[in-house]
């Protein structure tokens, strides 16, 4: 698998795009939301852990809470946990082929969803519906295009062209 090089500044450009993607309603499928922010946190935690501190993951989660008008802290906790786990097992995930990575990402996103659902159940006594699991499944499938974009970005880097990666 090709090594992916991400710059610290990459996430600054990707963050607003992911945020917009997250809140854009798919016509006819409003109940499915693609959590690109979680994918962004996972991507940087695995391939550029220095660029994704827990504080940054927490801040992104807070932004997600604000945008989705959810209780403040709900997504933040989930993303912090995702960043921690992804950084802890990053070497193992990096060595895997894309389908195996997909499975790992699905498990990671399920962790985020579990924390999210736990908070909602604790605060409001609500049990998540199957729609939320469908969102997790669809979101994890987006790992493939995310990796493709990350590889394309890497190829354009002078260091990658010079074979320094």
């Amino acid at each position: 698998m090709q090594e992916i090089q991400l710059r610290l500044s990459d996430w600054i450009g990707l963050l607003p795009i992911c945020l917009l993607f997250y809140i854009t309603q798919i016509p006819g499928f409003g109940y499915i939301r693609i959590d690109m922010l979680a994918l962004l946190v996972a991507l940087f935690s695995i391939y550029r852990p220095q660029g994704m501190s827990l504080a940054l993951a927490f801040a992104i989660g807070l932004a997600q809470d604000v945008v989705s008008l959810a209780p403040i802290g709900q997504h933040a906790i989930g993303l912090v946990a995702l960043a921690y786990v992804a950084q802890s097992v990053r070497d193992r995930i990096r060595m895997q082929a894309l389908p195996n990575q997909l499975l790992a990402i699905f498990i990671g996103l399920m962790l985020v969803k579990f924390i999210h659902s736990w908070v909602v159940a604790l605060g409001f006594g609500q049990i998540p519906t199957l729609n939320s699991l469908l969102s997790v499944l669809v979101t994890s499938l987006f790992w493939v295009p995310v990796m493709f974009i990350a590889m394309r970005m890497t190829r354009k880097r002078p260091s990658a062209r010079a074979g320094l990666s």
Partner: protein, 306 residues
């Protein structure tokens, strides 16, 4: 000594950092959910995020625009014909309503129980839907500047839609009747039996809470707001009973109601201002009508009996 394999390798982040951020997050969740400390901040957030929702609404707007633009002449003529027919039916209903209203006023006067409640409505446009699929919330383009208040009822052409939850300067967040946090006192139109209709998290389903088996309710019954909680005015249609079942594990009946409002389809909503709300904010009440008229939004008055 054999080297131990660890599933979780120690990364560049510390475990204590994780615990710290989780604790901060839990404190924020507690403050956000169970107290009003973050309420002013949330009101600011509603205004902050509404422009983003305008941008992200482009996809569905394009889809609507495409559908409207690609309509054939025949389809447009059929649509016009349907609207003309609907208009005729509504005019007839309106005449009947005026007559019934006048009769009702006379009866009330005879009984000495006349209390006219003036209600104003203000048209609001849907701005966006927050991405959380577990909650049923919407953002509308009316806020404190339009005299919108927390708890204010929101209706659409079909009936009760929800109520205002957070009020920003120019935008507000509303909670739909189908949200699992929402409940509304209702009355069966046929038998005047009262109950509480609660959201289930399903846009097409509400449930009546604690309905005794002796209660006079059956499939097909129309439910209207009873006005008991003093938030929703009395008499607005809420939905139709679609199922009444006995549950062996519960002493109560399981009653399912289909909402009459277009919870997933309505883009234009009406904010209802009752006289009580206008008295509470008497300093601002004249602005309700004038603001709406200036901005070209029809604010009309409806007299209703309560």
């Amino acid at each position: 000594m054999a080297s131990q394999k660890h599933i979780f390798r120690r990364g560049p982040v510390s475990f204590s950092g994780l615990i710290l951020f989780i604790l901060i997050g839990l404190v924020l969740i507690f403050l956000s959910t169970f107290t009003n400390v973050l309420q002013p901040a949330k009101a600011v957030f509603v205004d902050l995020v509404s422009p983003i929702y305008h941008i992200t609404d482009v996809a569905s707007n394009l889809s609507d625009w495409g559908e409207e633009t690609l309509m054939t002449r025949e389809e447009l003529l059929a649509e016009r014909e349907r609207l003309e027919d609907e208009n005729l039916i509504l005019q007839r209903h309106s005449l009947q309503l005026a007559s019934l209203r006048a009769e009702n006023v006379r009866m009330r006067q005879l009984l000495g129980a006349s209390e006219l409640v003036e209600e104003r409505v203000l048209i609001a446009e849907l701005v966006g839907t927050p991405p959380d699929t577990e909650t049923h919330r919407l953002i509308i383009d009316r806020g404190r500047l339009d005299n919108v208040q927390e708890g204010q009822p929101v209706i659409d052409a079909g009936g009760v839609f929800g109520q205002v939850r957070i009020v920003g300067e120019e935008n507000s967040e509303i909670i739909l009747i189908s949200d699992r946090e929402h409940a509304i006192p209702v009355e069966v139109l046929r038998s005047s039996a009262r109950a509480i209709a609660a959201g289930t998290g399903d846009y097409n389903e509400l449930r009546l809470r604690n309905v005794a088996p002796t209660m006079d309710i059956q499939v097909g019954d129309e439910l209207v707001s009873s006005g008991l909680a003093e938030k929703f005015p009395r008499g607005y249609p809420l939905g139709t009973v679609v199922s009444v079942e006995e549950d062996s594990s519960s002493p109560f009946l399981q009653v399912i109601v289909e909402p009459s409002a277009g919870l997933q389809t309505s883009n234009q909503l009406l904010l209802v201002f009752s006289e009580r709300q206008q008295i509470n904010s008497s300093a601002r009440s004249p602005e309700i009508a004038s603001d709406a008229e200036e901005s070209g939004n029809s604010a009309e008055s409806i007299s209703a009996e309560e």
